[in-house]
């Protein structure tokens, strides 16, 4: 591989690694998602630095132009990352659904209790789920906000 290309590859990959590191440092990126990126970046940087490795790999699988092998490896890494993210998104969607269901059930239970104890005041307001979000809104969301400002 040509020296200029290698330098460019090393600089770009180092930049990627630095960005990942900085994101983890600022707690924007969790370690568990950073690891895959770090692995990808390290693989690419090793291939860029270690000249012989890429040529050997390329010859082994019958690629005549070694930089193409670099693209092939990068493509594979990106594919793995994408599959990983699809898995993560699926898990998050599923958890989100469970959370929404749980909140709905809690709200229903709370309203039933309020109705039973007559705390709700206006029974018509407490009776419908849609109103309770807005009607009970005077009280409950404000406590949630207080909560966030206190814990945050």
């Amino acid at each position: 591989m040509e020296t200029r290309l290698r330098i460019a590859a090393i600089v770009a990959t180092s930049g990627l690694l630095l960005v990942i590191f900085e994101l983890v440092r600022r707690k924007r990126l969790m370690e568990r998602y950073a690891l895959l990126w770090l692995l990808a970046g390290t693989t690419l940087i090793v291939l860029a630095v270690w000249k012989g490795l890429l040529t050997t790999l390329a010859n082994k699988v019958g690629i005549f132009y070694p930089p193409s092998a670099l693209f092939a490896v990068a493509l594979a890494v990106i594919l793995i990352l994408l599959v990983h993210f699809s898995l993560v998104i699926s898990r998050l969607s599923d958890q989100n659904k469970v959370l929404a269901q749980r909140v709905g059930m809690l709200q229903e239970r709370l309203e039933a209790q309020e109705r039973a104890s007559g705390v709700a005041g206006d029974p018509a307001e407490a009776a419908t789920g849609a109103d309770a979000g807005a009607g009970g809104g005077q009280e409950r969301p404000s406590t949630i906000e207080e909560e966030l400002s206190r814990t945050g």
Partner: protein, 251 residues
């Protein structure tokens, strides 16, 4: 209501949870017991309730970090002054809760006391398998160097904290495999922790959160977290700073 709470994270520990709760109530009667049912699919929550614990049920498995932090949030909300973490699997002997508490009372300059398996006086207790001990030893050395004090068992989750610790952990707690990072988090906030020897027991049922396939991931993840942590000049969770969810910002 008591001023003290025992936080017991449990994930599918139906076999051991009732015994753990009863032991805590027996040996530390002035502690309220809060079991965090971390998305269990067996009867963990029901058995804990039967044994007399309050149960906080999470809708899905958050992992040990999220589960324990739920406990600290609950303790903060309910105004507890002291919180002790006791694993639901029975490895932590509740007889030592009293010692942990007395140690913290006697040494008010400390904010957290950890029960260590590796201090003199705990030789005959359960000390994990040899490869794990090697890993724990490595983390112990790293944490000792960073904090500038001797830490022998940084992976022990048997910990008692005062109100400052509860406030800190309710706001910020590491996600997976949190114990090592939690010590460093305390250190970063200039809170102090110490250790006393305890004898631990082998788990009686269930499976460890760190299964046989995961130690490599555990080591790498915690090493990365510790390394990156060195470059965080100022902890970013003092009042007026970022909200609890920091991953919401884009690049």
């Amino acid at each position: 209501m008591s001023q003290h709470v025992a936080i017991v994270p449990a994930h599918n520990e139906a076999g051991a949870i009732a015994g753990t709760v009863r032991e805590i109530r027996e040996h530390a009667p002035d502690f309220d017991v809060l079991v965090i049912d971390d998305g269990s699919t067996d009867g963990t929550a029901a058995r804990a309730r039967q044994a007399g614990a309050r149960v906080l049920t999470l809708p899905f498995n958050l992992g040990i970090g999220g589960a324990v932090q739920s406990g600290y949030l609950w303790a903060l909300e309910h105004g507890y002054q002291i919180a002790v973490q006791v694993d639901g699997d029975g490895q932590h002997d509740p007889r030592y809760i009293r010692e942990l508490l007395e140690h913290l009372r006697a040494r008010p300059e400390f904010n957290m006391v950890t029960g260590s398996r590796f201090l003199a006086g705990s030789e005959d207790g359960y000390r994990s398998s040899a490869p794990r001990r090697a890993g724990i030893g490595l983390f112990a050395r790293i944490v000792s160097v960073i904090t500038g004090q001797r830490v022998t068992d940084p992976t022990s989750g048997f910990r008692l904290t005062n109100r400052r610790g509860i406030e800190l952990f309710a706001r910020d707690y590491p996600h997976d495999y949190p114990e090592v990072e939690a010590i460093l988090l305390m250190h970063a906030h200039r809170l102090r922790s110490c250790e006393i020897p305890v004898r631990m027991r082998p788990r009686t049922s269930g499976v460890s959160a760190i299964s046989s396939t995961q130690p490599a991931y555990y080591m790498i993840k915690v090493l990365l977290a510790v390394f990156v942590g060195l470059f965080r000049a100022k902890p970013n969770i003092d009042p007026g700073d970022r909200p609890p969810v920091t991953a919401e910002h884009t690049i």
